[in-house]
Amino acid sequence: MNVIVELEKPLTELEAILRDLKNRQRETQGVDLTPKIRELEEKAQQLRAEIFGNLTPWQRVHMARHPKRPLALDYISRLDDFVELHGDRTYRDDPSIVAGLGVLDGIPVCVIGEQKGRDTKENLYRNFGMPHPEGYRKAQRIMRLAEKFHRPLVTFIDTPGAYPGIGAEERGQSEAIATSLKLLAGLRTPIVVNVTGEGGSGGALAIGLGDHIVMLQHSIYSVASPEPAATILWRDATKAEEAAKRLRLTSDDLFEFGIVDEVIEEPLGGAQRDPEGTIGKVLAADRRAIERLMKLEADTLLDRRYEKYRKLGSHSELVHDRAAR
């Protein structure tokens, strides 16, 4: 169960009552419900501040996984003339990655997104947004198209991670991610990355190496999703909450680390409380970044991309006596 959905239950109920009251007010012109409505609205506002004012990392993980949070296709379908392209041309079409061509406010772009489902059926179809190698190979095809036709590449990250299964290993999950990274590293066209949901591990980064990284306030981004991280660290997936706390996976952290270039604020309570507005803000940020990046020569673009990541790290020279070695 999503802890945010649990947490916001009183608010959701209150909001339902409010909606009901407002409808009644509109229909019956008899009793004046305005004072009651105002009272409840104030209460709701207070409740929102209480619930969402100071989320823990674990709650933010669940905010990023909120069942109503806008998903990749919600952003992508806002592009003009979006055409979805399918398949890796070698093995399978992987529905956990969507890709295609579209127009962003007058600029033709290539897009790639990791796609979760909204319900169980859709989630089974989308494999909970966990790509197989063929998903990354479809993405590579679109990356090459972007380069060939000089279209900016826009990506949307939302995955717990690359799928850890038998077929995925047999068909080279490592190779698929590695090749995506190498391709993005040398792609002679601007790359704008959006972390809109869950950014889990190499499976996220495989479409996330780029020139400008946008992150939604309540998204998360980490070396591994809390559950596998806990398994790896303590051989105990139930310690995911502990891992979430340690991993520094919030947008504040990522911005502070210099990994994310721009954080987009969400409405109090999360993006799903104003999907249209949030999507618009994200796409506007992408548009601004593209416009700026398109002015650069390809060589300059690649140099800047290189420098951006080259300096990420935390290390120093050991100066004391090395006899211990």
């Binding site: 690359a162 490592s174 991610i177 090749t179 040398g186 190496l209 340690r246 991309r305 290390h315």
Partner: protein, 281 residues
């Protein structure tokens, strides 16, 4: 007699994994093997051929012709996440340093292999499971940049449990950093070869490990993206025989060849010669 290579001179006494100072039990054939014998045989079991994990300095000794000029030898990691679980991360790495006799999970430098100038990086599972954090990323970037400047091929010997959790997303970004360095080296037309040894997984296999022009797997190595524990927790079904073994990867088209440790230097020399040989005008 050849002069002692420089990397050997400043080598710490090898830390012992098992308690018995003289004997070790082979996990494959259960035979007791005399440790000195094992070291002389490149840590390959004389009874069954099982490849024990090889320390990075032993690996350098195996591959380099003579001197090895280390790059970034003094680099130690920071603590970007201010990580604490049982104990603070800086304390962990400090313990790792004393225990392993190494400063980090990789050594990189320049040397010759079979007479060919190369840049060589070797990971070491004995230091935090060979995980990749800031230092691994930085040293690999430094090495590949040096290879680019000198136009000599790069060889990376992988042995890693993946990205280092305690450095979080900073560790993840080392995948990007190393990928950019590999791409840049490739754009210069300089060859890049990896040797995947036991184990090569996660963020290392999914970045530079599988980005090479030629990928050599060492006999018996476990290679994959996801660790077995994570796979078990996800799919909860029996894994096929030999799953994620070097031989399994060869069959599935992932690696160019599987090579025994005793033949590794010869094979690597041949590959490097073929990739660097000039075409006569």
């Amino acid at each position: 007699m050849a002069p002692t290579p420089n990397w050997l001179r400043r080598r710490a006494p090898k830390p012992e994994a098992s308690s018995d100072p003289l004997w070790v039990v082979c996990p494959e054939c259960n035979e007791r093997v005399y440790k000195k014998d094992l070291a002389e045989r490149l840590f390959v079991c004389p009874k069954c051929g099982h490849h024990f994990r090889l320390g990075s300095l032993d690996r350098v000794a195996l591959l380099a012709d003579g001197d090895f000029h280390e790059i970034g030898a003094n680099l130690v990691t920071g603590d970007p996440l201010q990580w604490v679980d049982r104990i603070p991360y800086p304390q962990k790495t400090s313990q790792d340093r004393s225990k392993s006799g190494m400063l980090e999970s990789i050594v990189v430098g320049t040397c010759r292999i079979g007479g060919i100038d190369v840049g060589l990086g070797v990971m070491d599972f004995a230091f935090r499971g060979g995980t990749m954090g800031s230092v691994v990323g930085e040293k690999i970037a430094m090495l590949l940049e040096e290879c680019g400047r000198r136009k000599v091929p790069a060889v990376l010997v992988c042995a890693s449990g993946g990205a280092r959790m305690e450095e979080g997303v900073i560790a993840l970004m080392q995948m990007a950093k190393t990928s950019l360095a590999v791409q840049r080296l490739g754009a210069l037309g300089v060859p890049f070869v990896t040797v995947l040894t036991d184990p090569t997984t996660g963020g290392v296999s999914a970045s530079f490990g599988f980005q090479a022009d030629v990928i050599i797997a060492e006999t018996g190595a476990a290679i994959g993206f996801a660790g077995r524990r994570v796979i078990d927790q996800t799919i909860r079904q029996k894994l096929p025989d030999g799953f994620q073994s070097a031989e399994f990867l060869l069959e599935h088209g992932q690696v160019d060849m599987v090579v025994r440790r005793t033949e590794l230097k010869g094979c690597l020399t041949n590959v490097l010669r073929l990739l660097t040989m000039k075409v006569p005008a």
